[in-house]
Symmetry: C2
Subunit: 430 residues, 2 copies
């Protein structure tokens, strides 16, 4: 793993957003499903997933979900349930109440918090079908109070027909009651515009392939969408006292995701840098996904030397990583200096997989430097706010002239008159 001064490093990943042909294809599928409903949905399912269905078979039955429980490993189910408890507990703390601000003149202002009514979660098929992501997408929506959470996933998984039982079990554990075996751009269109079988939603979330991403972009505005995730990143900030074997293992856990993943160590210690580089090489050699991890480390990995932990924090804030591990003595002391990081893991036992699977915080976190301005998936993503204004007669009589002054300055006489008509009828009781 290359070691260099931090100043010499420039992380640059060109994230692919699809070719014009892929975009055209996604747009065509979306338009056809919007216009034709189930007919187009079933046509594209046959064409792309090689599964011939009719509309009555789209919805996954309760029996299939129950049967899935017989096919999953008991230890897995135990672990999944404990993770779900932790994820639910963490996200419940994000919930906010509506509030009101009562004023002595009788005016009441406020902010009403409400869940979205219907949310669609996309779960990809094949190797990208992660039960953990099902929990991370569904539980925040459920905690928000979304009454209708619907999941879609392709009818065939990894070349085999049928939905992965682990996905069905994760969905059931997370509380999903409505599942459809459709995937691709056609599933996104069905969620956005509705078909005879699938009612339209207010928001679509969850990862997918490039066609899914392009279809989500196309339907945005008709419905809300989550952000399109880029490749994953970890930055480890460590001092001389940190354990190089821990750091190497954590860097590789990121690198094994994807050849575009980025694993970076920032440290003032040259001896740690050397030790971690050696550990990475040693651990790589026995990793099942060695090829992917090695390519990621070679292209987007680096050990960056800095003059001090303080200087390292500046580097971290510039990178704005998705995941940050702080492996220094008393990690809490630098927390106030970390401006940009999606999730911050403090101390030697907070290995990134702890957060990926189990601790409770969401594992869907802003990538590619967007932690500068965005946040991990959270309950707010599934709620909306409405402002509440109950203005009293007293308040209007007192402030009416000010309001009219502002309206007239902006050339909006009609606005001023809506106030004036009330001042003129001061003695009305209505």
């Amino acid at each position: 793993m290359r070691i260099m001064r931090a100043e010499q490093f420039g992380l640059k990943r060109e994230v692919e957003y699809g070719t014009p042909e892929q975009n055209e294809s996604a747009l065509r599928i979306v338009a056809e499903v919007k216009a034709e409903g189930d007919a187009a949905l079933l046509r594209y399912t046959e064409q792309h997933d090689k599964v011939k269905l009719d509309a009555s078979l789209l919805r996954v039955t309760q029996e299939e979900i129950e049967a899935a429980y017989d096919r999953v490993d008991a230890l897995f189910l135990t672990a999944l349930r404990e993770a779900a408890v932790n994820i639910r507990r963490f996200h419940e703390k994000q919930l906010r109440n509506s509030w009101t601000d009562l004023q002595p003149d009788g005016t009441m202002l406020g902010q009403i918090m409400r869940p979205l009514k219907r949310v669609g979660v996309y779960v990809p098929g094949g190797k990208a079908a992660y039960p953990s992501s099902v929990l991370m997408n569904v539980i925040p929506a459920q905690v928000a109070g979304v009454p209708e959470i619907v999941m879609v996933t392709p009818p065939a998984t990894g070349g085999k027909e049928g939905i992965d039982p682990y996905i069905l079990v994760a969905a059931a554990e997370a509380g999903v009651k409505e599942l459809y075996r459709v995937g691709g751009a056609q599933a996104i269109a069905a969620l956005a515009y509705g078909t005879e079988t699938i009612a339209p939603v207010d928001k679509i979330c969850g990862p997918g392939n490039i066609y899914v991403a392009l279809a989500k972009r196309a339907v945005f505005g008709a419905v809300d969408i989550d952000s399109i995730a880029g490749p994953s990143e970890i930055v480890v900030l460590a001092d001389e006292a940190a354990n190089p074997a821990y750091i190497a293992a954590d860097l590789l856990s990121q690198a094994e995701h994807d050849e575009m993943a980025s694993s970076i160590l920032v440290t003032p210690s040259e001896s740690l840098a050397q030790a971690v580089a050696e550990e990475v090489e040693r651990q790589l050699s026995t990793l099942p996904r060695e090829d992917i991890a090695r390519s990621s480390i070679d292209h987007y990995g680096a050990i960056l030397l800095v003059d001090s932990i303080r200087a390292g924090i500046d580097v971290v804030n510039q990178l704005a990583p998705e995941h940050l591990e702080v492996l220094i003595e008393e990690p809490m002391r630098v927390l106030g200096l970390i401006e940009n990081a999606g999730a911050i893991f403090l101390g030697p036992y907070s290995s990134e997989p702890v957060g990926d699977y189990f601790a409770g915080p969401n594992h869907i976190i802003p990538t590619n430097g967007t932690a500068r301005f965005s946040s991990p998936v959270n309950v707010d993503d599934f709620m909306k706010k409405s402002s509440l204004i109950y203005y009293s007669k007293e308040a209007l009589m007192k402030n009416g002239e000010n309001i009219m002054t502002l309206a007239r300055h902006e050339g909006l006489e009609g606005h001023a008159r809506a106030i004036q008509v009330r001042l003129d009828h001061e003695n009305d009781t209505r």
Copy 2:
């Protein structure tokens, strides 16, 4: 104003998102400013705003801001300051603290709330330069704690050179210390990528013409942007006891904004419907912006008859209006039924302009049915969350096997090993 049964009405406005030529032009300007910095910024300022500047003149000086105070009306300034106090008070109630969840095994989880570091606010020139919008964009950012709020606005306003003094005063009152006389797509590019004179920001907000909107869309990802506002809407839900003159004035205050604006009354009362239709006609005839308001009323306005207030609320929830006025006896009793509305105005004295200018809640509210899933501008829009995970040794020892089970099921052995390496070194103290 047409009166019809609610079932017969279908609000449909095709919102324009620019021609391919406009998009190409916006993209070219963005690319040139990104590549060339100030040189391109000044070139496009000369070309589009007909003002020749050099880089040293881009920033608005403190003297100009002070001089602007001498040119604004004293009553306006008083009203603006009172509005600013109210807006600040309301948005301060939206602020949230960071929180932590301490667990008995020593684990600490949490959510850290932080302001964005640098935000750019676009203020259009000409007739669309609204001091009220300056307050509504800047104050939430300021309340969030954003340390650097920078404003850009075209160097010429309404054919005249120089920035509208009312805009400068509103900016100063809202607390903006850094202003540049640039507008159009070139200003958006400068905010997103930075130039020699203007440092790049994390988020861009504020309304603008079609080139500004297209440039914002183009830079999204490099920075965050606010949503692109559509034409404005009001829905009034009223019963027989409501004052038709109030309703007509409120409908017209919306209609005068824009020919695409939509003003709708929903009522079970045929007599109110008739009275409001007559009042609208009467009030229209003396409105300075009669032509705009009449076109809006004719094309996108309607009085919708429903069987009951309850049925009217269903219509409201389908329309998901930007502004909703509830003019019925005891309006509070239906609040729990209103699912979709950006801002809810209750009772006879809560005329929409009260909220547009003065009461405190934000006047930048989701349009075109997007109140189904989005919210008025608020303090959260200028903050980001980071997850915090401090996992204790005890917690890792207890939960390590569960985490490894989940990781291995997903084929991510490197994740499992990052846990295993720690379990293997159980006796380490680091």
